[in-house]
Symmetry: C2
Subunit: 211 residues, 2 copies
Amino acid sequence: MMSGASTVDAIRRVGLEMFARDGYEATTMRAIASEVGIQAGSLYNHFASKEEILWDLTRGALMQLTSRIRESMETLAVDADARDQLSAFVDAHVRFHALNSDQASIVNRQMAGLSATHYRQAVSLRATFETQLGDILRNGDASGEFHVIDLRMSVIAILQMCISVSTWYRADGKLSPDEICAVYVQLSQRMVGFDQRALMASGPRKGVSQR
Amino acid sequence: MMSGASTVDAIRRVGLEMFARDGYEATTMRAIASEVGIQAGSLYNHFASKEEILWDLTRGALMQLTSRIRESMETLAVDADARDQLSAFVDAHVRFHALNSDQASIVNRQMAGLSATHYRQAVSLRATFETQLGDILRNGDASGEFHVIDLRMSVIAILQMCISVSTWYRADGKLSPDEICAVYVQLSQRMVGFDQRALMASGPRKGVSQR
DNA sequence: GTCTATATATCGATAGAC
DNA sequence: GTCTATCGATATATAGAC
Protein backbone atom coordinates (compact mmCIF):
# COMPACT_ATOMS: atom_id res chain seq x y z
CA MET A 1 0.00 0.00 0.00
CA MET A 2 1.33 3.39 -0.92
CA SER A 3 1.00 6.42 1.30
CA GLY A 4 -0.58 9.39 -0.42
CA ALA A 5 -2.30 7.23 -3.04
CA SER A 6 -5.59 5.49 -2.54
CA THR A 7 -5.80 1.77 -3.08
CA VAL A 8 -8.12 2.22 -6.02
CA ASP A 9 -5.57 4.44 -7.74
CA ALA A 10 -2.84 1.90 -7.06
CA ILE A 11 -5.00 -0.77 -8.68
CA ARG A 12 -5.49 1.48 -11.69
CA ARG A 13 -1.78 2.14 -11.97
CA VAL A 14 -0.78 -1.52 -11.63
CA GLY A 15 -3.58 -2.78 -13.84
CA LEU A 16 -2.68 -0.35 -16.58
CA GLU A 17 0.93 -1.44 -16.54
CA MET A 18 0.24 -5.17 -16.45
CA PHE A 19 -2.58 -5.15 -18.99
CA ALA A 20 -0.37 -3.16 -21.36
CA ARG A 21 2.69 -5.33 -20.89
CA ASP A 22 1.21 -8.83 -20.56
CA GLY A 23 -2.27 -8.45 -22.02
CA TYR A 24 -5.63 -8.54 -20.30
CA GLU A 25 -6.23 -12.30 -20.35
CA ALA A 26 -2.68 -13.12 -19.27
CA THR A 27 -2.91 -10.80 -16.29
CA THR A 28 -4.41 -12.37 -13.17
CA MET A 29 -6.19 -10.69 -10.29
CA ARG A 30 -3.68 -12.31 -7.95
CA ALA A 31 -0.80 -10.68 -9.82
CA ILE A 32 -2.41 -7.27 -9.67
CA ALA A 33 -3.16 -7.66 -5.98
CA SER A 34 0.36 -8.82 -5.25
CA GLU A 35 1.88 -5.81 -6.98
CA VAL A 36 -0.51 -3.47 -5.18
CA GLY A 37 0.35 -5.14 -1.89
CA ILE A 38 -3.01 -6.60 -0.96
CA GLN A 39 -4.78 -9.95 -1.27
CA ALA A 40 -6.70 -10.89 -4.40
CA GLY A 41 -10.05 -10.87 -2.65
CA SER A 42 -9.55 -7.28 -1.51
CA LEU A 43 -9.62 -6.08 -5.12
CA TYR A 44 -13.35 -6.72 -5.15
CA ASN A 45 -13.87 -3.98 -2.58
CA HIS A 46 -12.91 -1.54 -5.34
CA PHE A 47 -13.95 -3.15 -8.61
CA ALA A 48 -16.79 -5.58 -9.18
CA SER A 49 -14.75 -7.68 -11.60
CA LYS A 50 -11.59 -7.84 -13.61
CA GLU A 51 -13.48 -6.55 -16.60
CA GLU A 52 -14.53 -3.48 -14.61
CA ILE A 53 -10.87 -2.62 -14.11
CA LEU A 54 -10.26 -2.89 -17.85
CA TRP A 55 -13.31 -0.78 -18.59
CA ASP A 56 -12.26 1.86 -16.07
CA LEU A 57 -8.83 2.06 -17.72
CA THR A 58 -10.21 2.03 -21.26
CA ARG A 59 -12.71 4.76 -20.53
CA GLY A 60 -10.09 6.81 -18.72
CA ALA A 61 -7.60 6.54 -21.58
CA LEU A 62 -10.16 7.51 -24.19
CA MET A 63 -11.34 10.49 -22.16
CA GLN A 64 -7.77 11.62 -21.56
CA LEU A 65 -7.08 11.51 -25.28
CA THR A 66 -10.31 13.35 -25.98
CA SER A 67 -9.26 16.08 -23.56
CA ARG A 68 -5.80 16.43 -25.07
CA ILE A 69 -7.22 16.83 -28.55
CA ARG A 70 -9.81 19.34 -27.41
CA GLU A 71 -7.16 21.36 -25.59
CA SER A 72 -4.93 21.34 -28.64
CA MET A 73 -7.73 22.40 -30.94
CA GLU A 74 -8.79 25.17 -28.57
CA THR A 75 -5.44 26.89 -28.93
CA LEU A 76 -6.35 27.63 -32.53
CA ALA A 77 -7.82 30.90 -33.68
CA VAL A 78 -11.48 30.68 -34.59
CA ASP A 79 -10.58 31.27 -38.24
CA ALA A 80 -7.68 28.79 -38.31
CA ASP A 81 -7.23 27.13 -41.67
CA ALA A 82 -7.42 23.39 -42.27
CA ARG A 83 -3.66 23.04 -42.20
CA ASP A 84 -3.47 24.44 -38.67
CA GLN A 85 -6.35 22.26 -37.59
CA LEU A 86 -4.65 19.18 -38.97
CA SER A 87 -1.39 20.13 -37.27
CA ALA A 88 -3.09 20.60 -33.91
CA PHE A 89 -4.93 17.31 -34.22
CA VAL A 90 -1.92 15.27 -35.28
CA ASP A 91 0.33 16.91 -32.70
CA ALA A 92 -2.03 16.06 -29.86
CA HIS A 93 -2.55 12.54 -31.12
CA VAL A 94 1.15 11.78 -31.57
CA ARG A 95 2.09 13.37 -28.26
CA PHE A 96 -0.49 11.35 -26.37
CA HIS A 97 0.56 8.07 -27.93
CA ALA A 98 4.23 8.77 -27.30
CA LEU A 99 3.83 9.79 -23.67
CA ASN A 100 1.08 7.32 -22.76
CA SER A 101 2.04 4.08 -24.43
CA ASP A 102 0.31 2.01 -21.76
CA GLN A 103 -3.00 3.75 -22.30
CA ALA A 104 -2.45 3.37 -26.02
CA SER A 105 -1.96 -0.37 -25.62
CA ILE A 106 -5.19 -0.67 -23.64
CA VAL A 107 -7.22 1.15 -26.26
CA ASN A 108 -5.59 -0.39 -29.31
CA ARG A 109 -4.92 -3.95 -28.25
CA GLN A 110 -6.79 -5.02 -25.13
CA MET A 111 -10.32 -3.95 -25.93
CA ALA A 112 -11.30 -7.51 -26.84
CA GLY A 113 -11.48 -8.23 -23.13
CA LEU A 114 -14.37 -5.82 -22.66
CA SER A 115 -17.97 -6.92 -22.37
CA ALA A 116 -20.09 -6.43 -25.46
CA THR A 117 -21.73 -3.33 -23.97
CA HIS A 118 -18.50 -1.68 -22.88
CA TYR A 119 -16.84 -2.60 -26.14
CA ARG A 120 -19.55 -0.81 -28.08
CA GLN A 121 -19.18 2.27 -25.90
CA ALA A 122 -15.42 2.33 -26.41
CA VAL A 123 -15.69 1.94 -30.17
CA SER A 124 -18.22 4.75 -30.17
CA LEU A 125 -15.86 7.02 -28.24
CA ARG A 126 -13.01 6.16 -30.55
CA ALA A 127 -15.12 6.88 -33.59
CA THR A 128 -15.34 10.53 -32.60
CA PHE A 129 -11.66 10.90 -33.45
CA GLU A 130 -12.28 9.61 -36.94
CA THR A 131 -15.19 11.99 -37.33
CA GLN A 132 -13.14 14.95 -36.15
CA LEU A 133 -10.25 14.22 -38.47
CA GLY A 134 -12.64 13.46 -41.30
CA ASP A 135 -14.22 16.89 -40.89
CA ILE A 136 -10.84 18.58 -41.02
CA LEU A 137 -9.88 16.76 -44.19
CA ARG A 138 -13.23 17.36 -45.86
CA ASN A 139 -13.13 21.07 -45.13
CA GLY A 140 -9.53 21.35 -46.25
CA ASP A 141 -10.33 19.58 -49.48
CA ALA A 142 -13.38 21.74 -50.08
CA SER A 143 -11.38 24.94 -49.57
CA GLY A 144 -8.64 23.80 -51.90
CA GLU A 145 -5.97 23.67 -49.20
CA PHE A 146 -5.82 19.89 -49.38
CA HIS A 147 -6.07 17.44 -52.24
CA VAL A 148 -7.39 14.35 -50.50
CA ILE A 149 -7.15 11.09 -52.43
CA ASP A 150 -9.77 9.19 -50.42
CA LEU A 151 -11.34 10.58 -47.28
CA ARG A 152 -11.95 7.45 -45.24
CA MET A 153 -8.69 5.73 -46.06
CA SER A 154 -6.73 8.91 -45.41
CA VAL A 155 -8.37 9.34 -42.03
CA ILE A 156 -7.59 5.79 -40.96
CA ALA A 157 -4.08 5.92 -42.34
CA ILE A 158 -3.25 9.14 -40.49
CA LEU A 159 -4.76 7.93 -37.22
CA GLN A 160 -2.95 4.60 -37.43
CA MET A 161 0.28 6.40 -38.21
CA CYS A 162 -0.08 8.48 -35.04
CA ILE A 163 -1.00 5.47 -32.95
CA SER A 164 2.04 3.55 -34.11
CA VAL A 165 4.30 6.00 -32.29
CA SER A 166 3.31 4.25 -29.06
CA THR A 167 5.07 1.08 -30.22
CA TRP A 168 8.54 2.56 -30.55
CA TYR A 169 8.81 5.83 -28.62
CA ARG A 170 11.04 5.70 -25.56
CA ALA A 171 11.43 8.54 -23.11
CA ASP A 172 15.18 7.88 -22.99
CA GLY A 173 15.51 7.81 -26.78
CA LYS A 174 17.20 10.40 -28.94
CA LEU A 175 14.06 12.08 -30.22
CA SER A 176 11.98 14.45 -28.16
CA PRO A 177 8.19 14.44 -28.44
CA ASP A 178 8.43 17.87 -30.08
CA GLU A 179 10.74 16.58 -32.80
CA ILE A 180 8.57 13.53 -33.43
CA CYS A 181 5.39 15.57 -33.61
CA ALA A 182 7.00 17.90 -36.12
CA VAL A 183 7.83 14.98 -38.43
CA TYR A 184 4.38 13.43 -38.20
CA VAL A 185 2.69 16.75 -38.81
CA GLN A 186 4.69 17.05 -42.01
CA LEU A 187 3.84 13.49 -43.01
CA SER A 188 0.13 14.11 -42.44
CA GLN A 189 0.27 17.28 -44.52
CA ARG A 190 1.83 15.35 -47.35
CA MET A 191 -0.81 12.62 -47.09
CA VAL A 192 -3.66 15.09 -47.54
CA GLY A 193 -1.94 16.78 -50.46
CA PHE A 194 -1.06 20.02 -48.74
CA ASP A 195 1.50 21.76 -50.91
CA GLN A 196 4.61 22.46 -48.87
CA ARG A 197 6.86 23.70 -51.63
CA ALA A 198 6.07 27.30 -50.84
CA LEU A 199 7.38 26.71 -47.34
CA MET A 200 10.40 24.77 -48.49
CA ALA A 201 11.43 27.56 -50.83
CA SER A 202 11.69 29.93 -47.88
CA GLY A 203 14.64 28.06 -46.39
CA PRO A 204 17.29 25.49 -47.26
CA ARG A 205 15.90 21.98 -47.26
CA LYS A 206 17.48 19.69 -44.72
CA GLY A 207 18.85 16.33 -45.77
CA VAL A 208 17.03 13.16 -44.87
CA SER A 209 17.59 12.10 -41.31
CA GLN A 210 19.36 8.76 -41.20
CA ARG A 211 19.26 7.97 -37.51
CA MET B 1 -13.02 -33.90 -39.34
CA MET B 2 -13.04 -32.76 -42.92
CA SER B 3 -12.49 -35.04 -45.85
CA GLY B 4 -9.67 -33.94 -48.07
CA ALA B 5 -7.96 -31.98 -45.31
CA SER B 6 -5.62 -33.44 -42.76
CA THR B 7 -6.31 -32.95 -39.09
CA VAL B 8 -3.23 -30.85 -38.64
CA ASP B 9 -4.42 -28.47 -41.35
CA ALA B 10 -7.84 -28.29 -39.73
CA ILE B 11 -6.17 -27.36 -36.45
CA ARG B 12 -4.23 -24.64 -38.24
CA ARG B 13 -7.36 -23.29 -39.89
CA VAL B 14 -9.42 -23.28 -36.69
CA GLY B 15 -6.60 -21.98 -34.53
CA LEU B 16 -5.93 -19.12 -36.91
CA GLU B 17 -9.56 -18.09 -36.88
CA MET B 18 -10.02 -18.33 -33.12
CA PHE B 19 -6.72 -16.72 -32.16
CA ALA B 20 -7.48 -13.85 -34.51
CA ARG B 21 -11.05 -13.36 -33.34
CA ASP B 22 -10.82 -14.07 -29.58
CA GLY B 23 -7.12 -13.71 -28.86
CA TYR B 24 -4.55 -16.34 -27.97
CA GLU B 25 -5.07 -16.41 -24.19
CA ALA B 26 -8.85 -16.38 -24.50
CA THR B 27 -8.83 -19.35 -26.87
CA THR B 28 -8.80 -22.77 -25.18
CA MET B 29 -7.50 -26.03 -26.51
CA ARG B 30 -10.91 -27.54 -25.83
CA ALA B 31 -12.55 -24.91 -28.03
CA ILE B 32 -10.14 -25.56 -30.88
CA ALA B 33 -10.61 -29.31 -30.59
CA SER B 34 -14.38 -28.96 -30.52
CA GLU B 35 -14.40 -26.89 -33.70
CA VAL B 36 -12.05 -29.34 -35.40
CA GLY B 37 -14.25 -32.21 -34.29
CA ILE B 38 -11.86 -34.11 -32.03
CA GLN B 39 -11.14 -34.28 -28.30
CA ALA B 40 -8.76 -31.86 -26.62
CA GLY B 41 -6.19 -34.53 -25.84
CA SER B 42 -5.92 -35.47 -29.48
CA LEU B 43 -4.51 -32.06 -30.34
CA TYR B 44 -1.27 -33.12 -28.69
CA ASN B 45 -0.73 -35.76 -31.36
CA HIS B 46 -0.12 -32.85 -33.76
CA PHE B 47 1.28 -30.03 -31.66
CA ALA B 48 3.36 -30.29 -28.50
CA SER B 49 1.60 -27.37 -26.87
CA LYS B 50 -0.79 -24.50 -27.43
CA GLU B 51 2.17 -22.19 -27.93
CA GLU B 52 3.44 -24.44 -30.73
CA ILE B 53 0.20 -23.85 -32.62
CA LEU B 54 0.62 -20.10 -32.27
CA TRP B 55 4.23 -20.30 -33.37
CA ASP B 56 3.32 -22.45 -36.38
CA LEU B 57 0.72 -19.87 -37.40
CA THR B 58 2.97 -16.89 -36.74
CA ARG B 59 5.82 -18.36 -38.72
CA GLY B 60 3.51 -19.34 -41.55
CA ALA B 61 1.98 -15.89 -41.76
CA LEU B 62 5.34 -14.15 -41.79
CA MET B 63 6.68 -16.47 -44.46
CA GLN B 64 3.57 -16.01 -46.57
CA LEU B 65 3.96 -12.25 -46.40
CA THR B 66 7.64 -12.56 -47.21
CA SER B 67 6.79 -14.59 -50.30
CA ARG B 68 4.15 -12.14 -51.48
CA ILE B 69 6.54 -9.23 -51.21
CA ARG B 70 9.32 -11.10 -52.98
CA GLU B 71 6.97 -12.11 -55.78
CA SER B 72 5.78 -8.54 -56.18
CA MET B 73 9.31 -7.16 -56.24
CA GLU B 74 10.41 -9.79 -58.77
CA THR B 75 7.93 -8.48 -61.32
CA LEU B 76 10.00 -5.30 -61.53
CA ALA B 77 12.63 -4.68 -64.15
CA VAL B 78 16.16 -4.86 -62.85
CA ASP B 79 16.54 -1.13 -63.41
CA ALA B 80 13.21 -0.19 -61.83
CA ASP B 81 13.27 3.16 -60.12
CA ALA B 82 12.53 3.71 -56.45
CA ARG B 83 8.99 4.77 -57.16
CA ASP B 84 8.21 1.44 -58.82
CA GLN B 85 9.89 -0.43 -56.00
CA LEU B 86 7.83 1.45 -53.44
CA SER B 87 4.66 0.76 -55.39
CA ALA B 88 5.39 -2.96 -55.61
CA PHE B 89 6.21 -3.15 -51.90
CA VAL B 90 3.16 -1.23 -50.73
CA ASP B 91 0.86 -3.06 -53.12
CA ALA B 92 1.97 -6.46 -51.83
CA HIS B 93 1.76 -5.36 -48.23
CA VAL B 94 -1.69 -3.84 -48.51
CA ARG B 95 -3.03 -6.74 -50.54
CA PHE B 96 -1.80 -9.29 -48.03
CA HIS B 97 -3.27 -7.44 -45.06
CA ALA B 98 -6.60 -6.97 -46.81
CA LEU B 99 -6.96 -10.58 -47.94
CA ASN B 100 -5.42 -12.22 -44.87
CA SER B 101 -6.76 -10.30 -41.90
CA ASP B 102 -6.52 -13.33 -39.63
CA GLN B 103 -2.83 -13.80 -40.34
CA ALA B 104 -2.39 -10.07 -39.85
CA SER B 105 -4.04 -10.27 -36.44
CA ILE B 106 -1.73 -13.08 -35.40
CA VAL B 107 1.39 -11.20 -36.37
CA ASN B 108 0.33 -7.80 -35.14
CA ARG B 109 -1.62 -8.56 -31.98
CA GLN B 110 -1.10 -12.08 -30.67
CA MET B 111 2.66 -12.38 -30.64
CA ALA B 112 2.79 -11.73 -26.88
CA GLY B 113 1.68 -15.35 -26.44
CA LEU B 114 4.89 -16.66 -27.96
CA SER B 115 7.79 -17.98 -25.93
CA ALA B 116 10.77 -15.66 -25.60
CA THR B 117 12.72 -17.60 -28.22
CA HIS B 118 9.93 -17.72 -30.76
CA TYR B 119 9.08 -14.10 -30.09
CA ARG B 120 12.61 -13.05 -30.93
CA GLN B 121 12.54 -15.06 -34.15
CA ALA B 122 9.27 -13.47 -35.20
CA VAL B 123 10.47 -9.96 -34.47
CA SER B 124 13.59 -10.73 -36.47
CA LEU B 125 11.55 -11.92 -39.44
CA ARG B 126 9.33 -8.88 -39.24
CA ALA B 127 12.32 -6.57 -39.11
CA THR B 128 13.31 -7.64 -42.62
CA PHE B 129 10.28 -5.77 -43.95
CA GLU B 130 11.46 -2.60 -42.27
CA THR B 131 14.92 -3.09 -43.69
CA GLN B 132 13.57 -3.67 -47.21
CA LEU B 133 11.37 -0.59 -47.15
CA GLY B 134 14.15 1.42 -45.55
CA ASP B 135 16.48 0.53 -48.42
CA ILE B 136 13.90 1.61 -50.98
CA LEU B 137 13.39 4.95 -49.26
CA ARG B 138 17.09 5.55 -48.78
CA ASN B 139 17.88 4.84 -52.40
CA GLY B 140 15.00 6.95 -53.62
CA ASP B 141 16.11 9.83 -51.45
CA ALA B 142 19.69 9.50 -52.63
CA SER B 143 18.66 9.54 -56.28
CA GLY B 144 16.49 12.60 -55.81
CA GLU B 145 13.23 10.79 -56.60
CA PHE B 146 12.04 11.06 -53.02
CA HIS B 147 12.38 13.76 -50.40
CA VAL B 148 12.19 11.76 -47.20
CA ILE B 149 11.57 13.71 -44.00
CA ASP B 150 12.86 11.05 -41.61
CA LEU B 151 13.81 7.57 -42.70
CA ARG B 152 12.88 5.49 -39.68
CA MET B 153 9.65 7.25 -38.92
CA SER B 154 8.58 7.16 -42.55
CA VAL B 155 9.24 3.43 -42.75
CA ILE B 156 7.20 2.68 -39.65
CA ALA B 157 4.42 5.03 -40.67
CA ILE B 158 4.08 3.45 -44.11
CA LEU B 159 4.18 -0.10 -42.77
CA GLN B 160 1.62 0.66 -40.09
CA MET B 161 -0.59 2.34 -42.65
CA CYS B 162 -0.54 -0.83 -44.78
CA ILE B 163 -1.17 -3.06 -41.77
CA SER B 164 -4.19 -1.04 -40.71
CA VAL B 165 -6.05 -2.15 -43.83
CA SER B 166 -6.57 -5.50 -42.10
CA THR B 167 -8.77 -3.84 -39.48
CA TRP B 168 -11.42 -2.52 -41.85
CA TYR B 169 -11.27 -4.33 -45.19
CA ARG B 170 -14.21 -6.60 -45.93
CA ALA B 171 -14.45 -8.87 -48.94
CA ASP B 172 -18.10 -7.89 -49.35
CA GLY B 173 -17.35 -4.17 -49.12
CA LYS B 174 -17.53 -1.64 -51.91
CA LEU B 175 -13.81 -1.37 -52.54
CA SER B 176 -11.79 -3.98 -54.39
CA PRO B 177 -8.25 -4.81 -53.29
CA ASP B 178 -7.01 -3.21 -56.50
CA GLU B 179 -8.71 0.08 -55.72
CA ILE B 180 -7.45 0.09 -52.16
CA CYS B 181 -3.90 -0.69 -53.19
CA ALA B 182 -3.98 2.15 -55.69
CA VAL B 183 -4.93 4.63 -52.98
CA TYR B 184 -2.30 3.42 -50.54
CA VAL B 185 0.40 3.47 -53.19
CA GLN B 186 -0.43 7.12 -53.81
CA LEU B 187 -0.42 7.87 -50.09
CA SER B 188 2.97 6.24 -49.67
CA GLN B 189 4.37 8.23 -52.60
CA ARG B 190 3.18 11.42 -50.98
CA MET B 191 4.72 10.44 -47.66
CA VAL B 192 8.17 10.01 -49.17
CA GLY B 193 7.92 13.27 -51.08
CA PHE B 194 7.57 11.84 -54.54
CA ASP B 195 6.34 14.64 -56.78
CA GLN B 196 3.14 13.58 -58.47
CA ARG B 197 2.25 16.84 -60.17
CA ALA B 198 3.80 15.80 -63.42
CA LEU B 199 1.50 12.80 -63.49
CA MET B 200 -1.54 14.77 -62.41
CA ALA B 201 -1.03 17.28 -65.20
CA SER B 202 -1.40 14.49 -67.75
CA GLY B 203 -5.05 13.97 -66.92
CA PRO B 204 -7.98 15.64 -65.16
CA ARG B 205 -7.76 15.30 -61.38
CA LYS B 206 -10.59 13.37 -59.82
CA GLY B 207 -12.51 14.81 -56.90
CA VAL B 208 -12.04 13.45 -53.44
CA SER B 209 -13.93 10.26 -52.79
CA GLN B 210 -16.51 10.78 -50.06
CA ARG B 211 -17.66 7.26 -49.46
C1' DG C 1 -11.23 -2.21 3.88
C1' DT C 2 -8.22 -6.17 4.37
C1' DC C 3 -7.68 -10.60 5.81
C1' DT C 4 -8.06 -16.05 5.41
C1' DA C 5 -10.35 -19.61 3.40
C1' DT C 6 -12.80 -21.52 -0.09
C1' DA C 7 -16.41 -22.25 -3.72
C1' DT C 8 -16.76 -23.32 -8.45
C1' DA C 9 -15.00 -23.70 -12.73
C1' DT C 10 -11.70 -24.33 -16.22
C1' DC C 11 -7.20 -24.40 -17.80
C1' DG C 12 -3.07 -26.99 -20.37
C1' DA C 13 -1.30 -31.28 -20.57
C1' DT C 14 -0.76 -36.45 -19.79
C1' DA C 15 -1.73 -41.68 -19.45
C1' DG C 16 -3.28 -45.68 -21.26
C1' DA C 17 -7.03 -48.42 -23.78
C1' DC C 18 -8.34 -49.31 -28.41
C1' DG D 1 -4.46 -41.15 -34.22
C1' DT D 2 -8.52 -40.70 -31.35
C1' DC D 3 -10.76 -41.85 -27.40
C1' DT D 4 -11.95 -41.50 -22.06
C1' DA D 5 -10.45 -40.10 -17.82
C1' DT D 6 -7.88 -37.37 -15.03
C1' DC D 7 -3.88 -34.88 -12.95
C1' DG D 8 -2.23 -30.69 -10.96
C1' DA D 9 -2.45 -26.02 -11.23
C1' DT D 10 -4.74 -21.87 -11.39
C1' DA D 11 -8.54 -18.83 -12.60
C1' DT D 12 -12.38 -15.40 -10.98
C1' DA D 13 -15.17 -14.49 -7.46
C1' DT D 14 -17.38 -14.95 -2.77
C1' DA D 15 -18.15 -15.50 2.49
C1' DG D 16 -17.36 -14.19 6.89
C1' DA D 17 -14.00 -12.87 10.74
C1' DC D 18 -11.68 -8.86 12.30
